[in-house]
Amino acid sequence: MAAPRIIVIGGGLAGLAAVIKIAEMGADVDLFSIVPVKRSHSVCAQGGINAAKNLKGEGDSTWIHFDDTVYGGDFLANQPPVKDMCEAAPGIIDLLDRMGVPFNRTPEGLLDFRRFGGTLYNRTAFAGATTGQQLLYALDEQVRRYESEGKVKKYEHWEFLSAVLDGNRVCRGICAMDLRSMEVRTFPADAIIIATGGNGAIFGKSTNSVVCTGSAQSALYQQGCYYANGEFIQVHPTCIPGNDKLRLMSESARGEGGRVWVPKAPGDKRDPKTIPQNERWYFLEEWYPKYGNLVPRDIATRAIFKVVFELNLGIDGKPMVYLDLTHIDRKILDRKLEGILEIYEKFVGDDPRDTPMKIFPGMHYTMGGLWIDFKQATNIPGIFAAGECEYQYHGANRLGANSLVSCIYGGQIAGPNAVKYARGLQALPDGNGVFEAEKKKQEDANSLLMNNQGTENPFRLWQELGELMTKDCTVIRYNKNLQQTDAKLVEMLERFRKVNLSDRTQWANTSVAFTRQLYNMLQLARVIAQGARMRDESRGAHYKPDFPERDDKNFLKTTKAYFAPDADEPKFEFEEVDVSLIPPRPRKYDAAK
């Protein structure tokens, strides 16, 4: 029997972890990515990766990591896979260490660990403040090794368009587009793994990279995959506002002692360094004495919103607060945080070693995603998912430094399960008809866009989408606004039909690719808005002032959206959450758990 052929879509940490496992098992892998895989969004992860190695004599354990993760996620995550992930984490760190990741070290040459949000333990291994970059490079190097041995074939600058499904709705491959020649082609596979990251672009400006549009997930949702917990969007408390994106200022800045404050006097125009201690308000430390500046992100973000919008204490009356590192020794800052300090210096022009940084919350992470089972399989046979594009590990709020571990772990589970599934798969009986049909469908979609004579500029439509979603679907949510948001999305989908491409050429046409993504963003935005509308409670990152409490009786459930093609809109089901290991309890960070 021929070796199974697996297609992996996305070359970030999850995709590359899957590729390595598959190649190791002797199967063939085709790896598809919009950008060269070394340029994937995982490079943006800064602060570190969690694993309860307990190298600081604090009595940490994988169970406490598991409990912190479930509690931080406000009990919305299915518990067995989270427990497995936390148990695998120390081994993952060892593997990365063996691959040569230049983790920071203790004087004895052991791995150093720092503290992150939502925990009281030093559990986060780190390589300066560019940990994601270093981890991605380690996996990229191992994949390059397999590539040079002929076990992996890369398709870089190719974009996934859709899955090829047979008459029984079993996945038989993918349809993709060469972003240079604009050629649409189908590729057969026995199983595919989606590892395409988050959907920040739906919110216009976010901390995400340009490729993080959620387009692949949305395409699959429109083909019949369930999309789970779409309404759970993480807004990171500390970002640098910008015209083109919101640049992340890592939680590790607070992990190393950074303090968040505002001047006590509204509109205080003094240089922050001249404001005496007793005229500063360290509001996180006051409100959350036990966790202080290291409360989970949803809590810190809401606190900043309260200070800025309710109490009108933003710096100079603007939506900004200080993140202050100036009290920390410069040598320590350089050794542990240089990467992020450099970002602030380059993009803002001030040296955060000398002056407090001005920051504000920004859309950061997609907790929801493609629905998968405990083997990372979606509901369509042959389609697996791993990494930020799926929903499994973070519940209603992700803890800092858990994303890198969930990406690698998810990839390591998805890879072998895809191979196992592929080995048991019956060959496709009826030839190539389904491939031809899918290819034609996608080519038709392209020519429709190319020839459309309308008035809507896709880039401007996208800006409107981002502003709409950021305003009503992020930190504070009201049912009335969510309803209006969905109505506006319907209107925008209607306007999309009048889209006009200013570029109609057949070579490296970025407008075509972008406009296709935009359509998928609009469809997925409805899942987010409607999911948020339906969940009348507050849980983790999902906060409704009209329903301020968590409601386990009615909403301790996974939201599952599926696409109804005839109605052209999402429908919803709700699924029980597996809370078999830790009984849900109230989540409070003003005291120790």
């Binding site: 070394k38 260490d97 040569g100 380690a138 340009v210 993009f347 022009g349």
Partner: protein
């Protein structure tokens, strides 16, 4: 500051074989602009300075925080990353051109995949036994980590190659970035197993001997990687191995 504007001149080319041409754009100034945000504004309103409708500019970009290595181009003649090129710090008109030493895809996008091929040639990886749970890696002192980490921050942007007078079709020079990676892996406790092969790959035509010590690489590197130091260290090791090989024959 009212009505202040930004003039951007862009060298365009529709495909790899067509002729290049220049287009000029005028944008309203606002604080915090950079080259990428300007290109995004042009995409939303693709009209030249003289009012002619045109196409959005094709360029590579991804992270927009200078860590993915995508958006390298010539900005006012200098090889650098577009996302971190703040408009306020640039002389106007801002002149954007694609890299000159790599095949042009379209407009400002070039095919720089040669760097990834070079990384294959020098086996820039640690040859681990497998991904099974085999316990922790070798101990590494903080001093060794502090040597390795700066080199490991290379984003493969290829600015060092564009700026290098020796990097061209005649020499086939691998370029500074790849040589620095040899330095990185040859000093890793497990990585150095492949030391000899890596050094051999840097001997002969296109190898480390092509370096003319112009030092342009260090000057343009956006990550301040000690490239010339790495080149001289690797150069010494290559020389030592070459002489050793001579005597072993």
């Amino acid at each position: 500051m009212a009505n202040k504007s930004v003039i951007i001149k862009i060298k365009r080319q529709n495909n790899p074989t067509s002729n290049s041409y220049w287009e000029e754009f005028e944008l309203a100034w606002h604080p915090g602009m950079n080259v990428i945000s300007s290109l995004m504004e042009i995409a939303a309103n693709p009209v030249t300075r003289d009012g002619k409708a045109t196409t959005p500019i094709t360029y590579d970009s991804n992270c927009l925080e200078e860590v993915c290595g995508s958006c390298a181009m010539l900005i006012n003649g200098r090889a650098r990353m577009a996302c971190s090129a703040l408009i306020d710090n640039l002389e106007q008109p801002v002149k954007l051109e694609p890299f000159s030493k790599f095949p042009i895809v379209r407009d400002l996008a070039t095919d720089r995949s040669v760097i990834f091929e070079n990384l294959k040639i020098v086996k820039a990886w640690v040859p681990i036994d497998g991904t099974y749970d085999l316990g922790p890696g070798p101990r590494v002192s903080p001093e060794e980590q502090e040597q390795a980490y700066p080199i490991s921050r290379c984003i493969s942007c290829t600015c060092c190659m564009e700026a290098c007078p020796q990097f061209n079709e005649d020499t086939g020079f691998v370029g500074a970035a790849t040589i620095a990676q040899v330095r990185l892996f040859n000093t890793h406790p497990t990585g150095k197993e492949l030391q000899r092969e890596r050094l051999s790959a840097l001997m002969g035509d296109g190898g480390i001997q092509e370096c003319g010590y112009a030092q342009n690489c260090v000057e343009v590197c956006p990550k301040d990687i000690p490239l010339t130091k790495a080149i001289s260290e690797v150069g010494g090791a290559v020389m030592k191995q070459a002489i050793g090989d001579l005597f072993r024959r």
